[in-house]
């Protein structure tokens, strides 16, 4: 390999930072779910790289302060991935490791699904699917009306896109040309009971978003450079809202969870826990 090729292949500081945040996010998310004895590992693993790219490189939230009116907002509309959300905050240093590790524990702030009164960085309480997307749209409109240049990002699950409210919000965002809104879909092709295609098919998915008036970009949701490029494209698209359809693998990072819907809401124990720890780099 030539020196130029080696330099080109080396990760940029941004990519390296997001990659490290993603690794820590996965560790803390699995640890939190294990300690809780319940939770949603599959969908937390599939969105870890998306969350890491957003928080490490895209969102402008100075000091992780949810009181700053000029901050960018991130809404986890697929609220069941809370283990990953709490984990990415901890990886960023916005909250202590106790927050992801106290997942679902009594008398803590770490509700099974994000509660904004407990954890203000949640921006709004989510977990009932479709609702975070509508709230994110309202936030984006509110910021635009006040001429605050902040942007709003929201992550939806693929199964979540079977909710009618998602398409109500999608129609409204395009109608009002809300270009400071970027939706991302964690398209891991699996939902609670089975594959999307067997429960309620979403395809042609990008076509649907485009028909609703959105700028739609499809990408590999585990490839950090692709995520950063797509986020830049979304920010540059001023004509209306952008959706990033992130093709992902449910359970990504833990081999036996990958592409297996049985790990939508299951907890690794014993040998499987040890295997997960080893694959995720030990520090679980």
């Amino acid at each position: 390999m030539t020196l130029a090729a080696i330099i080109d292949a080396a990760p940029t500081p941004a990519v390296a930072a997001a990659t490290a945040i993603a690794a820590r996010t996965r560790q803390l998310a699995i640890a939190g779910i294990y300690r809780a004895g319940s939770g949603h590992p599959g969908g937390a693993m599939s969105c870890a790289d998306i969350l890491a790219a957003l928080y490490a490189c895209e969102l402008n939230i100075p000091g992780g302060n949810a009181d700053d009116p000029r901050r960018d907002r991130f809404v986890l509309s697929k609220g069941h991935a809370a283990p990953a959300l709490y984990a990415v905050w901890a990886a960023m240093g916005y909250v202590a490791d106790d927050v992801p590790l106290a997942l679902r524990k009594m008398n803590t702030t770490s509700q099974g699904h994000p509660h904004v009164l407990d954890l203000p960085l949640s921006e709004t309480s989510t977990g009932s699917l479709g609702q975070g997307f509508s709230a994110a749209l309202g936030m984006a409109m509110g910021l635009r009306l006040q001429a605050i240049p902040a942007r709003v990002y929201t992550l939806l699950g693929d199964g979540e896109c079977q909710e009618g409210e998602v398409w109500e919000a999608a129609m409204s965002a395009a109608h009002h040309k809300v270009s400071n809104l970027c939706a991302l879909v964690d398209y891991n092709k699996l939902q609670s009971d089975d594959r999307n295609a067997n429960i309620m098919g979403l395809e042609p998915f990008a076509t649907k978003w485009r028909a609703f008036g959105w700028h739609a970009v499809e990408l590999d949701g585990h490839d950090i450079p692709s995520l950063l490029a797509a986020l830049a494209e979304a920010a540059a698209h001023a004509a209306g809202p952008t959706v990033l359809i992130c093709h992902t693998i449910k359970g990504k990072g833990v081999s036996y969870m990958e592409n297996n819907f049985a790990w939508h809401g299951n907890v690794p124990q014993g040998e499987l826990l040890e295997k997960a720890k080893a694959e995720l780099g030990g520090r679980v």
């Binding site: 009116p69 921006e123 009932s128 609702q131 509508s134 006040q146 109500e168 009002h176």
Partner: protein, 313 residues
């Protein structure tokens, strides 16, 4: 009562909202293609930048209102009660009440008085569903003036509020400059023989019934419960104790409505007779106003009759 001035609480909502928006630059109105009916059209022209029509999409109506509130706005979102409390009810629960979002939800065309529309549109369960949600305040004005006042008072509550309005005009009962307090019953008439408790549209029927009762020298007290939640238990108990006879009149299912809430306050109190007029757990239906009100017992004659029966016990 000024009988020549029939105006609906939904009109009071629109006019009150317009006045509020002139005073408060952070108020924003949302509707779901029913602005002409809910009254919110009163602000559409004057404040085009602070009026959002989300189209016929009530879930997104509530969700967007929550999002707007999180950027500092005080949203007033309106549609028919059946679509607000019913269709979007779970969004009100999870996106708004659970987070104490500062959003005002207005359900118009409540009860059975949208008589033409029939059972699909006659919302008889909104108090029940909204009452059972923690953090909610529920307001229920009895006339145009009171609706205007409550719309403005709702602004001062930093949290979710449900305001129930009606389609039908009612006589002017309360003053334009009335001094009422959220959470405190309004004593429309003092009395000691029987306490009649009501809210919203039927309050005017109760006042009509008083004329009948006075002929029999029955001195009834009338409490207008403009705040369904938090309920003014203290005043209800005071009047129950004084009158010993309590009749509740409501345009709502007796399950989950005001009568059930009052009955719960009276549990364990000795020597008090209780009766209620409301929708006896069945759906509404189309008809003329007189036919429908008569079918469901919401007439001044029936109120007077039931009051006399209660006194005869």
């Amino acid at each position: 009562m000024k009988l020549d001035k029939l105006r609906a609480t939904r009109q009071g909502y629109g006019d009150g909202l317009a006045e509020l928006m002139r005073e408060k630059s952070d108020v924003i109105a949302l509707d779901a293609d029913l602005a002409m009916a809910t009254g919110s059209s009163a602000v559409k022209k004057e404040f085009p930048d602070r009026f959002v029509d989300v189209g016929i999409a009530e879930q997104n109506l509530v969700g967007m209102a929550v999002g707007l509130s999180l950027t500092g706005y005080v949203p007033y979102a309106s549609t028919f009660a059946v679509f607000m409390a019913g269709r979007a009810g779970e969004i009100i629960r999870n996106a708004a009440a659970y987070s104490k979002a500062n959003v005002k939800f207005v359900g118009s065309h409540s009860g059975i008085t949208p008589v033409g529309d029939g059972g699909t549109h006659q919302c008889i369960e909104d108090f029940g569903s909204m009452r059972a949600i923690p953090n909610m305040t529920i307001l229920s004005p009895c006339d145009y003036n009171q609706a205007k006042v409550l719309v403005k008072k709702a602004y001062d509550i930093k949290g979710p509020v449900y305001i129930r309005t009606s389609r039908e005009g009612v006589p002017e009962i309360t003053d334009e400059n009335q001094d009422i307090t959220i959470g405190k019953a309004q004593i429309l008439k003092d009395g000691e023989d029987i306490c009649i408790i009501s809210t919203g549209f039927p309050v005017s029927l109760v006042l009509e019934a008083l004329e009948e009762l006075e002929k029999d020298n029955i001195n009834a007290a009338v409490l207008n419960i403009h705040t369904i939640k938090p309920l003014d238990k203290e005043t209800i108990l005071e009047y129950a104790d004084k009158c010993k006879k309590v009749l509740v009149v409501e345009e709502h299912n007796v399950l989950g409505g005001l009568s059930e809430a009052v009955a719960a306050v009276l549990v364990g109190k000795d020597g008090i007779s209780f009766d209620r007029i409301g929708i006896e757990d069945r759906f509404g239906q189309s008809g003329s106003k007189a036919e429908v009100l008569n079918e469901y017992g919401l007439t001044s004659e029936n109120i007077a009759k039931r009051a006399r029966n209660l006194l005869a016990k």
